[in-house]
């Protein structure tokens, strides 16, 4: 739940999603769900010459499981709140 809440607070900001197949997509975070599936708007593939697949795609839905990284704005959220939330996060169980 922690990262679901974190991403909800980040909606509207520009992020770069790097997928497990090495494709990187930059766009505005439109929405996220409990599986950390991501919807991006105004998307642009980072290395367009290398990955011409999505030249005309402007909005996309990304399955959470194919994400490797999400590059985030450093000042997106209060870092101290993140630290507190992580410390409180219930154990795996």
């Amino acid at each position: 739940m922690l990262f679901f809440s974190y991403f909800k607070d980040l909606v509207g900001q520009e992020v770069t999603v790097e997928l497990k197949n090495d494709l990187a997509i930059r766009g505005t975070l439109h929405s996220v769900d409990q599986y950390l599936n991501i919807k991006l708007e105004n998307t642009k593939v980072v290395d367009q010459d290398k990955y011409p697949h999505m030249l005309s795609v402007r909005n996309c839905f990304i399955r959470g499981s194919v994400v490797r990284y999400v590059q985030l704005p450093k000042d997106g959220v209060d870092v101290d709140l993140l630290h507190d939330a992580a410390r409180r996060e219930a154990r795996g169980g």
């Binding site: 922690l2 990284y69 590059q71 450093k74 992580a86 410390r87 154990r91 795996g92």
Partner: protein, 97 residues
């Protein structure tokens, strides 16, 4: 508003909890390693790291000599969410370099 946090270390995830706000080393799948400041994590080992250095290791084999050439690619990222299913291990940084 007082928040009570259990300081007892009971299970492996508690060990990671001790490293919040500290720099850590993360070994990932696909021969990748990260070093950065741990800001948050969850039971899936999803993490948020700050001031991250990523190292990707590749081994090339020379066609003629068959020698193995080990190359590393590095890059730095200011703030990164890492999905937990790619994580192999988490540790305090190993100072070998």
């Amino acid at each position: 508003m007082s928040v009570e946090e259990d300081a007892t270390v009971r299970e492996p995830l508690d060990l990671i909890r001790l490293s919040i706000e500290e720099r850590i080393y993360v070994k990932l799948r696909s021969d990748r390693e990260l070093r950065g400041k741990l800001h948050a994590f969850d039971q899936h080992l999803n993490m948020i790291l700050g001031d991250v250095e990523e190292v990707i290791t590749t081994v090339e084999i020379d066609d003629e000599t068959y020698e193995e050439i080990v190359r590393t690619t590095k890059r730095t990222l200011p703030f990164l969410f890492v999905r937990g299913d790619g994580v192999i291990l988490v540790s305090p940084p190993l100072r070998t370099t």
